[in-house]
Symmetry: C2
Subunit: 408 residues, 2 copies
């Protein structure tokens, strides 16, 4: 099954190398495809690690082990397998991950616990240990790869390579942050996973790095949805090599902490939005802006209820300013709302205000806006000052085709 | 837009008249369609009333008033408008409902509070009072209608008329229960609502009738889903005229209480399943049976997570025994589960047991089962003895066509 490149795709950005990060890729041949599918990233000694993982109760061994490894706060390598999620594979799946950790640790002379492993692809088939072992050996010997090569190698049903870059000044020292990500939805019988990795040469203490990642995740990765289906393998890791010449950032009082946090959030937001732009069948990128909620968290929940509603998503696919469906989604969110204070608008034009259709509502500019690829949907609840932005895509025949028409 | 009759449609059953219930229908012409769209049901004096309503926080005036009326426990009439939901219409919508209550109360000589009103159709347009007034006057003068006429008149985008019947013996007295329902999903820019009505000649005290309805709803209407989008107007009402000759049922100790409760649940289950059978774009009816949960409520939540997953629904549309997607849905449900105790099967064949694919799994009978229209999906969590059954339909191109391709 060849997927057309998403109409919302962006070209891969210019991204500088990161001191202390070496990328390599090779063919483990997890699937019968003609490209690298095993990515190996070596990290310099002392690299700080932070990570966030799926909340699925059926998470893969990679995720279970990753959670333990993040508590250690240090990493020397990352291995990503594309084509097999190794989820729901019991002890055999866990053995396959531990074998990769051991082989890599022996290669670079570190502890197995410092080797992070991610896998994405089909569920229920243990990762074949022979393919992993040979692929990993090939990767150790491979030429150094670039960011776009690595972003391509970690993909499965992704239709374009996804990367983002930011920099920050820590005093006089400029630090770089480069991120790559994969994910778009699911394809029979694969379950796509969102795997994201951010690399930086900044020096950041692991516990504080984890705090920064948690905060960034709350307003970036946790604010996107394609189809509301949570993967068993979602993983975002941040690696900070500390090669840049500045005092270690270990609290909000550290010089440059604010700048670094802003750059990290910036990269995370760009990566998160790229996943939505590659959403299965997506033809429109939708910004759902919720204001006037009782809290920011409440606003996010309302935003996700709207963004996950198949009726809102199909209305936008049909370029239909159907604000009645938005009313429905707000009503089902279960968050404090009052029908008579609710306002809804598209592309900067209010269609309904304070619980009533706008009297002289002109749908012409709204219809024009909905013909575009970037949609603005605004909801004001009129209850308080909580606000959030959630990003999603529309629901089209393409989603059904990808997930129902093609068989495993 | 003409919709083809659902491939899962059932023919309308034989249903007897109910003593104390008189059906009439007329054309209010809420939309430009060639059929009756205002249904008027007159109920004999002393009819007991119970009802359950949408939990939407953006509910219509009909729902708000209905909640108050149910507390009174008595009804003399029901008026159903099809083609306009009268939701999100503020004080003008409420005035339209109150006008209908007043006109009907004057006609039959009762209190306005004894007149129940439901409306279904487009959101955001106040119900036109002139059409309602003329339609209602025409209904008062109309010939007596049958159950199938009424079931057709309350429909909007429904593709077939939906009714269910049961009887129960209260001592030596046989009582009848007849129900009609409408609902299938949504169509631009209408938001379909699920409106269900059960009529019986049994004599039941209103508070106990409400208890019975709440219990029946928990295992019937609250166990179906088409697309997870909750309407602003969902309403189920039960009217008990008390014309049958038996002692009033007012507690579980009353003779015949068990039999009546079973018959009521039976009618509610049949009506609920009929809505799923008319689910937008549905090609398969799916029984999701969850066992081994820590509680029945937990089982229901897991069942709904599976039934609402677009990936599970598209897999079944594609006749793909993709149990990896079921693992995903269990994992995201947030209920107690353990990957290594989870079992999943289709059509009576286990594909995975205790967290591992079944070694000698033969997909042939499963593939054959999935080609049918009635699908059995079983999930055992291996945690406890909680169980539930949830009913849903698959997600097909038909759903997208109905909700995105056609414009308002």
């Amino acid at each position: 099954m060849d997927l057309a490149v998403s109409p919302l795709a962006l070209s891969f950005p210019e991204m500088p190398p990161i001191d202390g990060v070496t990328l390599r890729a090779a063919r483990a041949r997890y699937k019968d495809w003609n490209r690298a599918d095993l990515t190996y990233v070596e990290l310099s000694e002392g690299t700080a690690l932070a990570g966030v993982f799926t909340r699925s109760l059926c998470a893969s061994s990679e995720v279970e082990l990753g959670r333990e490894q993040v508590r250690g706060g240090r990493a020397r390598a990352l291995v990503v397998n594309a084509g097999n999620a190794n989820a729901f594979t019991g002890y055999r799946g866990r053995e396959a991950v531990e074998a990769i950790m051991k082989q890599t640790a022996e290669h670079i002379g570190c502890l197995p616990v410092e080797v992070l492993v991610s896998s994405t692809g089909v569920i229920g088939v243990p990762l074949p240990q022979d393919k992993a072992r040979q692929g990993l050996a090939a990767a150790f010997a491979a030429d150094i790869a670039g960011w776009e090569d690595a972003a391509t190698a970690i993909g499965t049903t992704d239709t374009f390579a996804k990367g983002a870059h930011a920099s920050a000044m820590i005093g006089e020292q400029r630090v770089e942050l480069c991120g790559i990500i994969k994910g778009s939805g699911m394809i029979a019988p694969d379950m796509a996973t969102m795997l994201g990795y951010v690399f930086t040469d900044a020096a950041v203490e692991p516990a504080f790095l984890q705090n920064l990642l948690n905060a960034a995740t709350a307003e970036t990765f946790n604010c996107i949805t394609v189809d509301g289906d949570t993967s068993t393998s979602d993983t975002v890791l941040v690696f900070a090599t500390g090669k840049a010449d500045h005092a270690v950032i270990d609290s909000w009082e550290s010089p440059g902490a604010d700048a670094f946090a802003a750059a990290l959030t910036d990269v995370c937001r760009n990566l998160a939005q790229l996943v939505v732009r590659d959403g299965e069948g997506a033809s429109k990128f939708i910004n759902v802006r919720v204001s006037g909620a009782v809290s920011d968290d409440s606003a996010r929940k309302v935003g996700l209820a709207i963004a996950n509603s198949p009726l809102v998503k199909t209305a936008i696919a049909g370029e239909d300013a159907n604000w009645g469906r938005v009313v429905m989604a707000v009503g089902k969110a279960g968050e404090p709302a009052d029908r008579d204070r609710l306002s809804i608008g598209f592309g900067g034009v209010w269609a309904a205000r304070d619980g009533l259709p706008v009297e002289d509502y002109d749908e012409t500019p709204v219809a024009e806006h909905l013909k575009g690829k970037e949609i603005e949907l605004a909801v004001d609840l009129g209850m308080g000052s909580g606000r959030a932005v959630v990003w999603t895509c529309d629901l089209t025949h393409g989603y059904i085709s990808i997930n129902a028409d093609y068989r495993s």
